[in-house]
Structure formats: C-alpha cells, structure tokens
C-alpha cells in the first residue's frame, strides 16, 4: 500500500474507533435486566465544566479489582480537598509507566474520605478524588475508557481511630488493577 492510500484509511479508522466510544451509546447507563437507565447529556460545550463523562461499567466488578499491585501508588489528599498535590504526582507518573508496560489493563480508582464529614458529603468527596486522579491520568495519556471510579466515602477506612495520622491515611484514592478475563 502506498502513502496515498494510508491516510484515508487512517482517517476512516479514526472515525470507526470514535463510533465505538461507549459514551455515545444511548444505553451506556444500563446493564440490562431490571431497569431502564437512560443516557445523560454530554458535558457543556462551553467548557465551563472540564469533567470527562465516565465510561460504561461494562462487565467490570469493583470487587474484582486487585489493589495490591499498585498499593505503593495510593494517592493521599489534604483535608476536604480533592486536588492532587505536587508531592503525589510522581505516583501517577509511575502508574502511567506501569500501564504502558502492562497494556490491556483497566484501572479502578477507589476514592475515600476521613470520617470528619457527613456521609453524603464524604461519598461525593471520595468520588471527586477518584475523578481528579482519573483526569490527571487522562492528561498523562491513558484512555478515559479504561479508568473506572467508585467512592466508598468514609465507609472503608484504611486505619481506624480518631488521630490526625489515621485521618491522613484514610483520605486517599487506591488504584486497583482489572485484568481482562481470558
């Protein structure tokens, strides 16, 4: 095949891949069965919201995520904050390096909060932290469709107790690895 044919083929392939984007599937919210979850609207094109719509859950079960592989890269956060501090960014660079070396894996980003907020606030805070990690990893080149988020609020502390040390250990996003089933 000469160069003249390759470019149109590449363009066609790009369009084909875009059509496979799960978020444009009208039923991406549902897993079938007991309900009729509807798709949501897209992010505001005016850009006043930089969030990236989440990928379909597909067949991924959070309980299948292996958190031991990347345990050293658990990202920690300041109190009531979901911003990734400079000292934590190196961990995410390490995560992106690992994904490049281990292609085909998806990541499950599990967000947590310390118990000093009310339950719903903590659940959303944990999710915001997971989304912040996701956004950062997308910025490092990982495909958004391979990054799943969940939040456990303050329900699953890493360390029990009421000390500042315990609280600091609980404000985290743990990075779980999903290996595709053969």
């Amino acid at each position: 095949m000469n160069n003249k044919c390759r470019l149109p083929l590449l363009i066609a392939l790009t369009f084909a891949l875009a059509a496979c984007d799960d978020t444009k599937n009208p039923n991406y919210g549902s897993m079938g069965g007991d309900s009729s979850g509807l798709p949501g609207d897209q992010v505001n094109a005016n850009g006043d919201n930089s969030s990236i719509p989440l990928a379909s859950r597909g067949g991924v079960n959070p309980n299948d995520a292996d958190y031991s592989v990347l345990a050293a890269d658990t990202v920690y956060f300041d109190f009531d904050k979901s911003t990734i501090s400079a000292s934590e960014r190196g961990k995410l660079t390490a995560v992106s390096e690992w994904i490049k070396a281990n292609p085909g894996r998806s990541l499950f980003l599990a967000g947590h909060a310390d118990k000093r907020g009310t339950p719903e606030y903590n659940r959303a805070l944990g999710e915001r932290r997971a989304l912040a990690v996701r956004e950062y990893l997308v910025g490092l080149g990982l495909p958004a469709a391979s990054l799943y988020t969940n939040s456990y609020g303050a329900d699953r502390p890493a360390v029990d107790g009421d000390t500042e040390e315990a609280f600091a250990k609980n404000r985290r996003v743990e990075i779980g690895v999903i290996t595709p089933k053969q």
Binding site: G40, L131, N150
Partner: protein, 401 residues
C-alpha cells in the same frame, strides 16, 4: 454591676426604697441574662402545658395507655396526667382489632372527638396520640410516622424501620454491605436508598408493603443521596456519570432523567420544597460546602443561602416550607442549624452535637443523629430527647410524613 452604679446614690434614702432599688435591677438583669442564654429557644414550664388525662381500657388497654402517655409527653407540648385530673380526658378501648378513642374537654364537658383507629398493633395507639395532639395543640402529632435509618458498623450497614418512639424496630435490608442515604416517601410506602450490593454505589427503591426492590440508578460513577419529591413521583439524587457529582431528578422507575446543576464543584443531598418546584442542596462550588436553592425543572440560577457557617451539608426542607434544617461543623463537631426561608437567616439549635436532620410532619420537631444514636429535637424549645433503639451505630434518619 448594677449594684455598684446604683449604690453610691442610695446612701441617704429610706431603707425600704434602698432595698427595692438594689434588688429590682438585679431581678431585671437576671431576667435579661436568662433570655440571652436561651437565644431563640423558649423555656416552657411544665406546669403551663395543657394536661391530658389518659385512661384506655380493653385487653390491650394498659399498653395503649403507656404508649399514648409517652407519645404526648414526647411532643414537649402536652403534660400527660392520671385520669382523675387534667384539662382533657383521653379514654377509649384497645383490643387486637384497634383502638377506639375519645377526647373530652373537661372544662366545657364537650366531646372533642370520638374515633376508631385501625392501624396495626402499636400504630393504632400512635394514631390516637396524634389526634389528641392535633386537637389540643393545633399541631399535627408525629407519633404515627415511620422512622427509617441505617445502622451497623464500619463496612456493613443495613436499613431499619422503627416507630418514632424507638419501638418496633425491624431490619429491612440484609445485604451484608453498606446501605446509606435512605429516604422514605412522604406517605411512607416507599424507600429510596444507596446500596453497594453490586459493588458500586447504586440507588434502589423498595416498596415497603410488598418488599419488591428495583435498582433505579446505576450509571457509571456514584449514584447516591436520593430524595422523594412531595408527590412521590420523582427522585432527586447525586450522579457523577458526567464527570462530576451533580444533582439530577428522575422518575421513580429510573426514567426521565433531568439535570439540575452544572458546576465545577460537587453537589449533594437534594431536598424538595413542599410544593415540589425547588430543591435545596449542598454544593462546594465556592470552596466549602454551602446551601443553595435551585428550580427543580432544570439547570438554572443557584440561590446561595447565607447561614454564617463555613460548612453546611445535608439540608432538609420542612413540610410547611418555612425552615431548612442542615448540618454544620464547628470546631470539629457537627451541630444542627435551622435556616429561616422568609427571613434568610440561620441559627444553631444544638450545642452537644448533631447531624443529618430530618423534619417530622409538624415542622417543629426533627430527628437527628449524634455519635451513633438518634434524637428527637424540638426546634422551638431546643430540647433534645434520645430515641432509644434496640440497635446501635444508627445514622442518617428519614421520617415519613
């Protein structure tokens, strides 16, 4: 202080005038100080409450008399007394088939009402209590409402129902996972809540009579904090599926999704106005979580409620529309605040801690949680009573209307 100001000029006055001039200002000052200490709370002397004598006969009469007496006392607005005395007499018969109840005004001798209450078990007695409360105080009683809450420990929480007096507790979910953010529909027939049964945070609706359960929101990300609209046809909730936790409404079967907020911050805990046209929720778009009101029909302006507190979450709109209760955090401790919708001001109602308020139907009392226990709070007197439960680790109360 007053004495020092007055004393020098009193040296030459007759003894009785001197006496009055010292003590009267002191008494007035003490009265002023007492009012300051209670703030907006009103101290109600027990002796000024209307007294209702309670005497119910029949095979279940003893139990019914005790239930009704305790219900009336718990309102903080009635003093239950023995059948011999009182301004009113509540009498009747309690059997397996229900309670027949009568209220007589002893001063006038007139029958206030005579009625049969057919609720099952203790409910009939609670219904009698509520009819007495309504007749004597003008406010609806809340004894017959359903109280829902989650209970358990870290990692496992289930949803429970109980009577408002803490009796008749029954476990509704048995999933061995986290159940959270429960919301009873106004009529008490349905429950919406968040469960991690699937591994994800999903919203389910349970029909409490049949036990049938449907998963209604299971979008990518979190689905949580559901709240039934006043007419029970819609649920407002938080979804993060578009990349950020925002407020949406949906019909109770999961369809007709409608987005309400669009910010860079995260929005949680929506609560409906009594007419169903607006939602109050918590958003941290400005930094710390604050309360906002928006239209319930779509993305629109956010009206910031200035409470004077830097952390405001979990708002709950009272049935009469006049108040929004919320949780604030001061010095590391949660407290309950109440926002006056008309005056656009807020005040704190608790000092010993409290979170996650849920109004009862009289728009005066609410239920809140503190350190794993539920409490009933009178927002007028600021008096708080524990609701003794047979389970521990209780939180996130919800009350049917």
């Amino acid at each position: 202080m007053a004495v020092h100001l007055i004393f020098p000029s009193l040296l030459n006055l007759p003894a009785n005038v001197k006496y009055l001039s010292i003590w009267l200002p002191l008494i007035l000052l003490a009265g002023l100080l007492t009012t300051q200490l209670h703030g907006q709370g009103v101290t109600v002397e027990v002796s000024t409450l209307p007294r209702v004598g309670v005497s119910i006969s029949g095979s279940l009469g003893g139990g019914a008399t005790e239930i009704v007496s305790n219900d009336l006392k718990r309102t903080g607005m009635i003093s239950p007394v023995g059948s011999g005395s009182g301004d009113y007499l509540a009498s009747g018969e309690a059997t397996e088939s229900g309670v027949s109840g009568r209220l007589v005004n002893k001063k006038t001798g007139a029958d206030v009402f005579s009625q049969t209450f057919t609720g099952k078990g203790r409910l009939a007695a609670h219904q009698f209590s509520d009819a007495i409360t309504q007749a004597v105080t003008g406010l609806p009683g809340f004894a017959s409402s359903k109280l829902g809450f989650v209970a358990g420990s870290v990692r496992v929480q289930e949803f429970y129902l109980a009577d408002m007096d803490g009796f008749n507790t029954r476990e509704v979910t048995h999933d061995g996972t986290i159940s959270a953010s429960p919301s009873l529909s106004r009529d008490g027939s349905k429950l919406a809540y968040t469960s991690y049964k699937s591994g994800y945070a999903d919203v389910y609706v349970i029909d409490l009579a049949s036990g049938a359960r449907n998963r209604v929101a299971f979008f990518p990300g979190i689905n949580s904090g559901p709240s039934f609209s006043p007419d029970g046809s819609l649920i407002a909730l938080t979804l993060s599926k578009d990349g950020n936790p925002e407020i949406y409404t949906m019909s109770t079967d999961g369809g007709s999704l409608n987005r309400i907020t669009r910010t860079r911050g995260s929005e949680t805990s929506p609560s409906w106005s009594p007419t169903g046209d607006r939602l109050v929720y918590s958003s941290d778009d400005r930094g710390s979580p604050q309360l906002f009101i928006s239209s319930a029909s779509g993305v629109s302006d956010m009206d910031h409620l200035v409470t004077g507190n830097s952390y405001c979450t979990k708002p709950d709109w009272s049935p009469d529309g006049k108040w929004i209760a919320f949780t604030t955090r001061l010095g590391g401790q949660f407290q309950i605040g109440v926002y006056d919708v008309a005056k656009r001001t807020a005040q704190l109602i608790t000092t010993a801690g409290g979170q996650d308020p849920a109004w009862t139907r009289d728009s005066r009392h609410l239920v809140y949680a503190n350190n794993g226990r539920l409490h009933l709070l009178d927002t007028v007197s600021h008096q708080s009573l524990p609701i003794e439960m047979s389970v521990s680790g209780c939180g996130e109360p919800t009350v049917s209307r």
